[in-house]
């Protein structure tokens, strides 16, 4: 027993070093986008406070550009209003009802909220955006996030009481299903960790005739984003000789260097769709068991 104590005292510093290393590595390797990081929820509130202070200062320099973008978006939305259109045979004005359910069976599937970015990085390989809305304001995991001019930014991965972390498109572990507007073929959007302005799109077959400047939209099968929202435009087409697919470089519509205001979109049917997925899987599993 005494020898053990002597041993511990002799190698106390080395043991402390190894223990602290183990703790740090345990933090690092148990953290991924699906599991909450150790203590990140509480730390989020603290870093959020600092980031808000910094942001109020930074806003001052970026207000003008932000105003211009908001105006542009407002402008395009005003043009979509039904009030602008008058049917020709009668003099009645057609106005779209905004209540969730109407007699024609329309219901609201997506709900948009505004949020302010308190911190965002582009210099790392794993970039996150921190926004000043959290679970108290109804933000939950897996909600989609769009920039103020309508470009896809990312997906909420972690929520604290008043702040949330968004995994942005420029994160090397990011995978998003998108489609080419012209041909409606779906592909996988990822980032190679190099230039924050450009993303990589894979799985678009070479039978598609694409040109530089073609529009890329969000895919139809995501539970997080509404389909048909702007993601970016094709900036370079690289034919991959070993496969039948293109490698496309996409210029993202959202400017990650300059995010100030964003919109968080909630899929009101998310719970139900998710539950349906789980139930289906369960049923298939059970069917397999009984067959055996």
């Amino acid at each position: 027993m005494r020898n053990i104590f002597r041993f511990i005292r002799r190698f106390f510093v080395l043991l402390a070093f190894l223990i602290l290393q183990a703790v740090a590595l345990w933090f690092l390797f148990t953290y991924n986008r699906f599991h909450r990081a150790k203590g990140l929820g509480a730390a989020n509130e603290v870093t959020g406070w600092f980031n808000t202070r910094y942001n109020t200062f930074e806003d001052f320099f970026k207000m003008k550009e932000e105003n211009r973008r908001l105006l542009k978006l407002n402008d395009s939305l005003m043009n979509l209003q039904r009030v602008n259109f008058v049917s020709s045979d009668t003099d009645a004005v057609v106005i779209r009802d905004s209540i969730p359910y109407d007699t024609l069976g329309h219901y609201r599937m997506y709900k948009w909220r505004d949020a302010q970015v308190v911190r965002s990085t582009v210099s790392s390989e794993k970039n996150y955006v921190q926004i000043n809305r959290g679970s108290n304001q109804g933000i939950r995991d897996n909600m989609g996030v769009f920039s103020s001019d309508g470009g896809l930014v990312g997906q909420v991965v972690n929520v604290s009481a008043n702040f949330s972390q968004v995994m942005s498109l420029i994160h090397v572990q990011n995978r998003v299903s998108v489609l080419v507007k012209k041909t409606q073929n779906a592909g996988i959007l990822s980032w190679d960790g190099k230039d924050p302005r450009f993303l990589t799109l894979l799985n678009i077959p070479k039978s598609d005739s694409l040109v530089i400047g073609d529009t890329i939209l969000t895919g139809k099968y995501s539970l997080s984003f509404p389909p048909g929202q702007m993601v970016g435009t094709v900036s370079e087409i690289i034919p991959d000789n070993s496969t039948n697919f293109y490698v496309l470089r996409i210029k993202s519509a959202a400017n990650f260097n300059d995010l100030q205001q964003v919109m968080v979109v909630e899929n009101l049917q998310h719970e139900e769709l998710n539950q349906l997925n789980k139930d289906t899987e369960k049923r298939v599993e059970e069917a397999k068991k009984t067959n055996r």
Partner: protein, 177 residues
């Protein structure tokens, strides 16, 4: 100012500069990531015990980690350099730390060449370990090597500039004090 207060202020300044200045500037290149926060650990007084160094290093790294959303990454690298620091100081200045005329490592206390070697060695350890941990889930071997070299170069440049700009006023320690 007492050593404790001085180091608390330094800690806050280094973390805030790293988070709100160096991490915010537009990236020069994907391989060049400026790091300076760990200079806080290099500047700790000689009198801090080895256990103390490890604990301070761990929390310095963890604080930065919570800002950059990478829990454990910088903490691991900081604990490593905090562990190695006493050995490097012993090799470069082979005498009893209590005989130092100044309280903490600086060009004035150690001489420019030994000081730069001290900084370079710990910088390389820090960056190699950090990049290696990142490399485990992303990137290739060439990527790792280039990134270590370029990041070390930019960090050394930043540290030399810091040393030249902010000469720390330090009292010469005498027996009477």
């Amino acid at each position: 100012m007492s050593d404790l207060l001085k180091n608390i202020v330094r800690f806050a300044v280094f973390i805030l500069v790293q988070v709100y200045v160096l991490d915010q500037i537009p990236p020069l290149h994907q391989y060049i990531i400026p790091y300076i926060y760990y200079l806080f650990i290099l500047w700790l007084p000689f009198s801090v015990s080895r256990i103390g160094l490890l604990v301070i290093g761990f929390f310095t790294g963890l604080t930065l980690d919570y800002f950059t959303n990478t829990p454990g990454l910088h903490a691991a690298a900081c604990v490593l350099i905090a562990y190695i620091r006493p050995f490097v100081i012993n090799v470069l200045t082979p005498k009893d730390p209590s005989e130092f005329n100044y309280r903490e490592p600086s060009p004035k206390a150690m001489g420019w060449t030994p000081y730069l070697v001290y900084v370079l060695v710990l910088t390389i350890f820090h960056h190699v370990y950090l990049t290696f941990l990142e490399y485990l889930d992303f990137g290739g071997f060439l990527h790792l090597m280039i990134k270590v070299v370029s990041t070390t170069a930019i960090s050394m440049l930043l540290i030399i500039v810091t040393e030249l700009l902010f000469t720390r006023k330090m009292k010469y320690r005498t027996n009477t004090a």
